[in-house]
């Protein structure tokens, strides 16, 4: 594939950890090993803790892909989606070839951009997979 990419729509992500556990179970990662985890964007105090003061609160989530993630290389070669994007119950993620304008990820990215979403990536110093993009409005 030319340019494999995962687009995560943060407006849809519900912080359920299905993506992270799907990866962990499929690859039988050890107890303390997560290639992929969910960051709560809130107060910073932990899972599902919001920012702000009652009742003016704000909370969202973002799956973070560590460099342990192998982008499900074997699966995608067989034309399958990565475990994370496939199993997301919120359907917040799209996978595909960014170099192909008709691929699902290209189409979705264009669609969201046109709706006014900003498309961004985590900065290099976070040392995460560079193939992951986020969309948020």
């Amino acid at each position: 594939m030319g340019q494999p990419a995962i687009l995560v729509n943060l407006n849809r992500c519900t912080g359920c950890w299905t993506c992270s556990t799907a990866c962990k179970v499929a690859y039988q990662l050890g107890e303390d090993k997560w290639w992929h985890y969910v960051r709560t964007i809130g107060s910073g105090a932990g899972v599902d803790e919001p920012a702000g003061e009652w009742p003016n609160l704000r909370m969202s989530w973002m799956p973070v892909y560590t460099t342990g993630c192998i982008l499900c290389a074997k699966r995608t070669k067989e034309g399958l989606e990565p475990h994370c994007t496939y199993n997301c119950p919120a359907k917040a993620m799209t996978y595909g070839d960014l170099s192909d304008p008709d691929s699902p990820v290209s189409v979705r990215m264009k669609q969201l951009r046109e709706r006014g979403y900003k498309i961004f990536q985590l900065p290099a110093w976070e040392r995460t997979r560079p193939e992951v993009y986020y969309a948020e409005k």
Partner: protein
């Protein structure tokens, strides 16, 4: 190298939330993983998978998984067991059952029929075989954890039944322009899979999502507007909104006139609807009277008739007819709601008056507007809240719009389908069914009368009541000690199983066949993914072995698969109309077959209309008039009790979204997310006044006892509310368990006149004994035929799971 094979499997969490199924991959005889399962066209992806379904792949191999029959060797509750054989277990259990039957009668054997925690819930073969045992042995069946009363009461009296309106196709949400999520946390939480996606789709397509709730959960975080409300006050908010709809003429005239009891005249003398038979000799008791505008006169309309033809009913009439003063139900509603101004409700709910107006106008200006009202309003007054909220949908006319509607329990199964379960449940026909099904409160309360207790054995074949049911000490101190025999059939040693005399290992859904019918308009075959591990036995084998002990072997002669084949021989056109015929052979080849049902999403309100006596939405219900429950009203929740001054905090005993009630708390990955120990949340304001710092050990207490847990300061809860997780096992709490300090579930504490009347009304509406009138006394004293259906077993008391207060203080010994 062996390839991966797959089968379809009901998730362990498949129960009274979503009925999800999984695609299970197996390699070299071991489950490697589960993933999202997809139905065929046109339904495609209906259910998804959540973190629990993913982790479930590990369950058969966890050390806490039960593999062998156990016999108690210590005292009950110590959790000391020795491994024994099935033969020994069954011989000993059989001997005890026969002894109890001979001495006390078969109804002394209590069987727990609470299927909500058993996969695949109501369609599981185990559920049907349990009924078969009850009906042939003559046991007493009891749904020992009696929940969801707000739903069952309000649907019974507003719509005429509950079961029918429990189903809702979430695809209907996409097309709504406005959605209230009230008393529910579906997004990424209770409805992680099937429903979350549709709610988000609706939102992405422009629907405004408004959460009205107690705490800032994941649903609140995803909503466009979060309306915090004080616990147990929802009826006040809804009544204020209903009042605005009437006073400001924002209600849907046509819908209200044609589909609700609004125009029907109510007798002021006895609160019953005026009938033709009341005003004309020989008149029809099934015709109701309304007041026509021009010419001004009394006219009649039959039940289930929605077209007034050339008549135009006066919605606010108050005539005197044949000397009987009457008022329209609508006029009574208007008068009833008059005091519920936005300002009045604010004193109870904390919702600003201006917000109430904004919400009301938004709800009628952005049609179709749907209401997602699940089961989170577990307060004493849930019945009022549910009815008042449902009324919003009817008054606004949204209930008549395809994408409006009410999602109540919202099982997302699709079109209702019946398997051939009659002959399985009633092998000798319903008329010859033995067994008893008294009101749950009656069952539990009998344990409080030593010497009078009717029950000597408990077959806890499903459910985990000692863990989940509030009022644990009643179970451990009154119920359990009075039983001579306790058998638990389980997949792990739960907080209930530690009190059993025998714990027998069930198969997981990975180790047995099951028919998942209906599943989003499809019939899906669950095949075993692996051979049963250890000595676990499927329900077909369990019941066969047990039945043999009590001389009923002829009734339990089939394998799991043979039972399923019999269940498929249904006359329901949804199954019978499938070509080629739906058989186990066909299902084994194709794994899933589409049912013979329409392709458009199932809509219960469209399909059934209302099955109430009038055939209309009965916001005024005459059958409950004599206990002052004809219309939804304000009733204070238990947390408004004067005792609150000593225990000023509202205690919300909750489950973390990565768990499913008491299940999944053993899973290491999920514990990493939720917390490797039980904990509670307290708002920083409340913590500050109590000298509690983040991470301190605290005591959460009230007059019933105390629980010692770690406290976390959090803005998820408002000042005045604390949240504590209940799913961890008893030994994990440093002292006590959450259910010990909650008002008991199903015991007499929450019984009242309205509950007893409810049981009477339901029994008379639904029990198949023509000519016989059932009263609370006859129900309590004698038999309820085992054919009593869901409506009867879910009536009578109130599930006040969240209607609890407490105080919190720093525990002695500190952090």
């Amino acid at each position: 190298m062996a390839e991966e094979k797959f089968v379809y499997t009901a998730c362990m969490g498949n129960g009274c939330h979503e009925h999800c199924f999984l695609k299970t991959y197996v390699k070299d005889g071991k489950i490697v993983r589960t993933e999202q399962a997809v139905l065929g066209p046109p339904e495609g992806l209906r259910y998804g998978i959540c973190q629990k379904g993913i982790e479930y792949a590990r369950f058969p191999y966890l050390p806490t998984r039960l593999l062998y029959p156990l016999k108690r060797v210590g005292k009950r509750g110590e959790g000391k067991f020795e491994r024994i054989s099935w033969e020994q277990a069954m011989d000993e259990i059989g001997a005890k059952l026969r002894e109890i039957r001979d001495k006390y009668g078969p109804e002394a054997v209590l069987v727990n029929t609470f299927a909500c925690g058993y996969p695949a819930n109501w369609t599981a073969l185990h559920m049907v075989l349990t009924r078969r045992f009850v009906h042939t042995f003559g046991a007493t069946a009891s749904t020992l954890e009696t929940v969801d009363r707000g739903f069952w009461f309000s649907t019974q009296f507003d719509m005429g039944a509950g079961w029918r309106y429990s189903n809702y196709d979430p695809r209907l949400l996409v097309g709504a322009r406005y959605i209230f999520i009230w008393g529910s946390n579906p997004i990424g939480a209770t409805r992680a899979t099937g429903s979350t996606r549709f709610l988000l789709d609706a939102q992405e397509q422009g629907a405004k999502m408004v959460t009205i709730g107690l705490v800032y959960d994941s649903t609140a975080a995803k909503s466009d507007q979060f309306v915090p409300i004080k616990g147990g006050t929802d009826a006040a908010l809804a009544m204020a909104m209903n009042r605005i709809l009437i006073e400001e003429d924002l209600y849907d005239h046509d819908y209200v006139t044609n589909h609700t009891v609004a125009p029907l005249l109510v007798r002021e003398d006895n609160g019953r609807l005026l009938r033709e038979s009341d005003i004309i000799a020989g008149g029809d008791p099934k015709k109701y009277v309304f007041w026509n505008l021009t010419p001004a006169e009394a006219r009649t309309i039959a039940a289930r008739t929605h077209d007034f033809g050339t008549s135009a009913p006066d919605l606010f009439a108050s005539p005197v007819i044949n000397g009987i003063p009457c008022k329209t139900a609508f006029l009574k509603l208007k008068e009833h709601l008059a005091e519920w101004t936005p300002e009045r409700q604010e004193t109870l709910t904390g919702v600003p008056a201006q917000t109430v107006r904004q919400l009301t106008y938004d709800f009628v200006k952005n049609k179709p507007a749907a209401i997602w009202l699940n089961l989170g309003l577990r307060y004493y007054n849930a019945r009022e809240a549910h009815r008042a909220i449902q009324l919003l949908s009817a008054l606004s006319g949204n209930l008549g719009l395809k994408h409006g509607k009410l999602a109540l329990i919202a099982w997302c199964d699709g079109w209702p389908v019946r398997m051939n379960d009659g002959p399985v449940s009633y092998p000798d026909g319903p008329e010859n069914a033995k067994g008893d099904r008294p009101p749950v409160t009656d069952v539990l309360e009998s344990f409080r009368k030593p010497g009078e207790s009717k029950y000597k054995a408990l077959l806890n074949v499903m459910g985990n009541p000692v863990h989940s049911a509030p009022g644990r000490q009643l179970w451990t101190e009154e119920l359990i000690p009075r039983l001579d025999l306790i058998v638990d059939y389980e997949v792990r040693v739960t907080d209930t199983a530690v009190w059993a005399d025998y714990v027998l290992p069930d198969t997981t859904t990975f180790e047995r066949s099951e028919l998942l019918v209906p599943l989003g308009d499809w019939a899906v075959l669950q095949e075993p993914a692996i051979e049963p591990l250890g000595e676990v036995k499927s329900p077909a084998d369990f019941w066969r072995m047990l039945a043999k002990q009590v001389g009923l072997e002829k009734y339990f002669d089939k394998t799991q698969e043979a039972w399923l084949e019999l269940r498929l021989k249904s006359k329901d056109p949804a199954i019978a109309g499938i070509n080629p015929p739906l058989t186990m052979e066909r299902l084994k080849k194709e794994k899933m077959v589409r049912l013979n049902v329409p392709t458009e999403p199932f809509d219960a309100f469209d399909y059934y209309g209302f099955v109430s006596p009038t055939g209309r939405f009965e916001f005024y219900c005459e059958d409950m008039a004599d206990v002052d429950e004809a219309m939804a009203k304000w009733l204070p929740p238990l947390i408004h009790s004067p005792k609150r001054k000593d225990y000023p905090l509202h205690l919300m005993v909750a489950r973390h979204r990565v768990f499913m009630q008491t299940q999944f708390t053993d899973f290491p990955d999920l514990r990493q997310i939720a917390g490797d120990e039980p904990w509670m949340r307290i708002n920083p304001e409340d913590a500050a006044t109590r000298g509690i710092l983040d991470g301190d050990l605290v005591e959460v207490f009230n007059e019933r006892g105390k629980v010692k847990v770690k406290a976390r300061l959090s803005q998820v809860v408002p000042p005045g509310v604390v949240q504590m997780w209940f799913g961890y096992r008893a030994g994990e709490y440093l002292e006590g368990v959450p259910t010990q300090i909650q008002v008991p579930l199903g015991w007499g504490e929450t019984q009242d006149a309205a509950g007893r009347k409810w049981v009477e009304v339901v029994a008379n509406r639904w029990l198949p004994r023509p000519g016989e009138k059932v009263t609370w006394e006859t129900l309590a004293a004698g038999r309820v035929p085992a054919t009593a259906n869901t409506e009867t077993q879910f009536a009578g008391n109130w599930d006040v799971i969240w209607d609890n207060y407490c105080e919190v203080k720093k525990a002695a010994g500190g952090k």
